[in-house]
């Protein structure tokens, strides 16, 4: 580890010397101007793209002017091209003498939503690959770029990983614009600001940063932008890349940014002052800063009544603790602290373990690893085989292993409870952290019993307290403790009592709701209110 971090430091230093990001990528062609002869331009494009046949080049003749359309098949809406571009080239009886033909075509003829005049090749490639159609005209050293974007989109479907019972059923898709629209539709305020940039020197992935001006902390917004600008990488395949490139701390199993595929979740986070990062091509939107407790808050918590959601949230935290400690406690209990188990139970466990050939740790490890393999296999399996594997898995873990005497039935219970508890964490990133730490704690429990578990938990707490997410302490508002923000931690207060936005994350505009939001029947003698209600 020390060597690795040393290496990384060296690299970071180098990067600093590079003076952040080079705007110009060496792989990209030089920024050349567009040539007057359109044929030269076409041959240049052909050469540059290596004659890829999805680059459609169509030569046209219009009122004695010659030119060519260039677009990428599949990225464009072919109906838009035929209806709005080709149509205008068909009107051949226009007298074009004495007027600026290029100007005319840009303003009048090409009837598209947005037309742009471009001058250099970088722009050409940019536009072309974004789904625009480039029109070269003979004799002009510039080109028209018409917006004809329109590629196959996946429809908005129900979320597949963060389900909710009462909440909205839509989820983000792979299309950036759809995603920003989903958020815009939920927050109809001009204060919802959107800034976009492109990251990935080769992939040129579109990225949008959204936040609510006046609610979000300006410093954090700036920090997010700075960190994004710093990224110098060839491509961004998924928002997971961004997440790992802007984290505060890499040496941790805990997620320090939040991600969600639910527009309602992201909306509420924006309203708490967080910043959303939307990456084109990923249905998961990142929000930052993220706090530890946030990973235990599910969307449904806010849609059902507060008493119920409080109970369920506490249950979720308990499940997390079980997922973390289950096998470790079993190992410690059966190999160190037999006196802590009630007599009858101790005898029952001893009876079951009587014929097990392995020590408790090995037994637990075998079962845990088997289960992890099954789970991983289940994720990647083709659907058709899935059922077969789950049956085999259930038989292997559940029955055969016990009957063969390799593991005790208690161990099966412990492993299954742990596994099920692990799935109750709403965000997968946090669940997986518990999964990893579980093995460490199992090892500690084997060496030192409960003392080891406590030691492990202490290290874990210290580590958690040392984490920061965009400068905000990860354990806020538990440590450092903040009374005002306890309204949504272990106990979810009624909506009318959740008056304040989280501290530090939001700045300036802290109050969410007005006074006297508590509902109730009209008070006697309070005539004004009741008459208002009637009218």
């Amino acid at each position: 580890m020390p060597i690795l971090s040393k290496l990384l430091k060296k690299k970071q230093k180098q990067r600093k010397n590079d003076n952040y990001r080079q705007q110009q990528d060496p792989q990209k062609p030089e920024n050349l101007p567009i040539l007057r002869e359109y044929k030269d331009n076409i041959s240049r494009i052909k050469g540059e793209f290596g004659n890829s046949n999805d680059i459609v080049i169509r030569e046209i003749v219009h009122c004695k002017h010659r030119g060519a359309l260039v677009y990428v098949d599949g990225l464009v809406d072919s109906r838009a091209i035929s209806d709005f571009i080709l149509e205008s080239f068909n009107e051949n009886d226009i007298d074009t003498d004495g007027m600026d033909y290029f100007q005319f075509m840009t303003e009048k003829a090409v009837a598209l939503g947005s037309n742009e005049v471009i001058h250099d090749w970088n722009q050409v490639y940019d536009m072309l690959l974004s789904g625009n159609t480039i029109i070269f005209l003979e004799g002009y050293n510039k080109a028209i770029s018409g917006e004809t974007k329109g590629w196959e989109k996946r429809a908005i479907t129900e979320p597949s990983t963060q389900l909710s019972i009462r909440g909205p059923k839509d989820s983000f898709t792979e299309t950036l614009r759809t995603n920003t629209a989903l958020l815009r539709r939920r927050i109809k305020s001009p204060n919802l600001w959107l800034e976009s940039m492109r990251i990935g020197t080769v992939s040129q992935t579109d990225i949008a940063i959204m936040y609510i001006k006046g609610i979000a902390n300006e410093k954090i917004v700036k920090e997010v932008k700075d960190r994004l600008k710093r990224i110098n990488i060839d491509s961004i395949s998924s928002s997971g890349y961004i997440e790992q490139l802007i984290e505060d701390q890499s040496w941790t199993t805990f997620p320090t940014t939040y991600h969600s595929e639910r527009p309602d979740t992201v909306t509420s986070q924006l309203l708490e002052g967080r910043v959303a990062i939307i990456v084109d091509g990923t249905p998961f939107v990142i929000t930052a800063p993220a706090l530890f407790i946030q990973f235990f808050q599910a969307a449904d918590d806010y849609y059902s009544r507060f008493d119920i959601s409080t109970g369920i949230r506490l249950l979720r935290i308990l499940a997390f603790i079980i997922a973390l400690l289950g096998p470790a406690v079993y190992i410690a209990g059966t190999t160190f602290h037999q006196e802590m188990i009630p007599t009858t139970m101790a005898i029952a466990i001893a009876a079951q373990r009587e014929n097990v050939p392995f020590p408790a740790f090995v037994e637990a490890l075998i079962m845990e690893v088997t289960f992890e393999i099954l789970r991983e296999a289940g994720l990647r399996l083709p659907r058709a085989v899935g059922q077969a594997v789950s049956i085999v898995g259930a038989l292997v873990i559940g029955q055969a292993a016990v009957q063969a005497g390799f593991v005790s039935p208690v161990m099966v219970i412990v492993v299954s409870i742990t596994a099920i508890a692990n799935f109750s964490t709403p965000v997968f990133a946090m669940a997986i952290a518990a999964r990893l730490i579980r093995f460490v704690l199992m090892g500690l429990a084997t060496i030192l019993g409960f003392y080891g578990i406590m030691l492990g938990l202490m290290f874990m707490s210290i580590h958690l307290c040392s984490l920061r997410s965009f400068g905000i302490p990860y354990m806020m508002p538990i440590a450092p403790f903040n009374m005002r923000n306890q309204q949504d931690i272990f106990v979810r207060f009624p909506i009318w009592a959740m008056k304040y936005r989280p501290m530090f994350i939001s700045k300036g505009n802290m109050v969410r709701s007005g006074e006297n939001q508590k509902p109730g029947p009209p008070k006697q003698g309070d005539d004004n209110q009741s008459s208002k209600g009637e009218s």
């Binding site: 037999q338 006196e339 005898i347 001893a350 009876a351 009587e354 097990v356 009957q403 060496i447 030192l448």
Partner: protein, 401 residues
């Protein structure tokens, strides 16, 4: 950053070294000692019987349990408990484990000679729990007591500990005494310990035989029997039935019991079953002499009325209350008198005096046993019949009309 890594690495390394002397022990390498019996040895001072559970035969599960006997008893001798325990390792394949020991049985013989030599080992061992129940094996050896099998509870120990708990609250002739209680009584000047007696009834040949359990009425069985009274760590006498109950009454351990009273000249005509009983012991001083006041308050219901009696009449109920009070008072007074006869302050009156008047206690404590024998004790009982079950008047009442 690097420093932290180095430090944590060192810590982990140091910890793994420590693990060598740490007591990691697999469940399957342990012999759970459920009960221990102390008998007088022939050559050595003690013969200790270890009742060890055979987990596979107790717990029912997939491994085809319940075929063999649930316990195995090993006996070894030693001049001290530790010596005996170490000698036992020659006979037992697993490490003796005492954390789940729930019963200490001491033979009457050992108890009469004094059991002080046993107690420190039990008190000192970190594995051993001082909440373990202690009983005296009456009319039999402790070995026989811990070897006996029982048919309702698979583990004989559970039978004994549960039985003591049940009978304490339902009958009140026995009271649970653990090592802690016993030691507290032992070291205190103003209190002497009592211990439950247990006997093995029936055919002793059948002790520990599985075929005996095949009968609905086993030939041998265990029964709680009497309270052993100790003085200076030695057994000095036994209290039985009502007298034992009197002791338990004063110790405020009775919850429910049965009080029979005569009616219309018929003996045991009405039975009152208290459901709540509270005893308060206080001291007051007269002419520099302590006088003990015992106030017992109990509430209960009529559980039987085997005579013609009008239970709807408040005056009758009042009379029943009076008779019950008299009966309880008599039982308590008799136990006190008996205890005074053997000069053993099992009620802890001395402690009460100590608390009430420490200065006086300093003078009294040297000669407390004699003081106790002459102590004046007032017993006041307040009894209330609160209900009569689901009938008001018994059928006798209508029969004679």
């Amino acid at each position: 950053m690097r420093k932290i890594f180095v430090i944590s690495l060192l810590m982990v390394l140091v910890l793994s070294v420590l693990s060598g002397c740490w007591n990691q022990k697999e469940l399957t390498d342990l012999a759970f000692v459920m009960a221990m019996g102390f008998d007088k040895g022939e050559n050595k001072k003690f013969e200790v019987s270890f009742q060890i559970v055979n987990p596979g035969n107790v717990s029912s599960g997939q491994n085809g349990a319940g075929q063999g006997l649930p316990i195995a008893v090993y006996k070894s001798a030693g001049n001290t408990l530790t010596e005996a325990a170490r000698n036992a390792t020659k006979m037992i394949s697993r490490r003796l484990y005492y954390s789940h020991t729930n019963l200490i049985a001491i033979s009457e013989e050992v108890a009469r000679d004094g059991i002080l030599d046993v107690m420190d080992a039990l008190d000192r061992d970190p594995e051993f729990r001082t909440t373990t129940q202690i009983v005296v094996a009456r009319h039999s050896t402790a070995e026989e007591l811990v070897s006996a099998l029982t048919n309702l509870d698979k583990l004989p120990v559970n039978k004994i500990t549960k039985e003591l708990k049940t009978t304490e609250s339902m009958l009140g002739e026995n009271t649970r005494v653990n090592i802690d209680d016993f030691l507290a009584g032992l070291v205190s000047n103003g209190k002497e310990p009592v211990v439950n007696g247990y006997i093995v009834k029936g055919n002793k040949e059948q002790i520990g035989r599985a075929d005996d359990l095949q009968k609905t009425k086993t030939e041998t069985f265990l029964e709680a029997n009497g309270l052993a009274v100790f003085k200076n760590g030695k057994l000095t006498g036994w209290f039985e039935h009502e007298k034992a109950r009197g002791v338990v009454y004063v110790l405020d351990k009775v919850q429910s019991t049965d009080i029979n009273i005569p009616w219309n000249g018929k003996k045991h005509a009405i039975t009152m079953a208290p459901i709540r009983t509270k005893t308060k012991v206080s001291v007051h001083f007269k002419n520099g002499k302590p006088i003990i006041n015992i106030a017992i308050e109990d509430e209960g219901f009529i559980s039987e009325a085997n005579t013609d009696v009008d239970l709807t009449d408040p005056k009758v109920i009042e009379k029943i209350d009076k008779l019950v009070e008299k009966e309880i008072k008599q039982q308590v007074m008799e136990s006190i008198k008996d205890a005074q006869k053997i000069k053993s302050d099992i009620f802890g009156f001395g402690e009460r005096v100590h608390r009430a008047n420490p200065k006086l206690w300093k003078k009294l404590k040297g000669n407390w046993d004699n003081q106790f024998a002459e102590l004046k004790v007032n017993v006041k009982v307040d009894s209330y019949v609160r209900r009569e079950g689901i009938r008001t008047n018994p059928f006798w009442f209508n029969m004679n009309k």
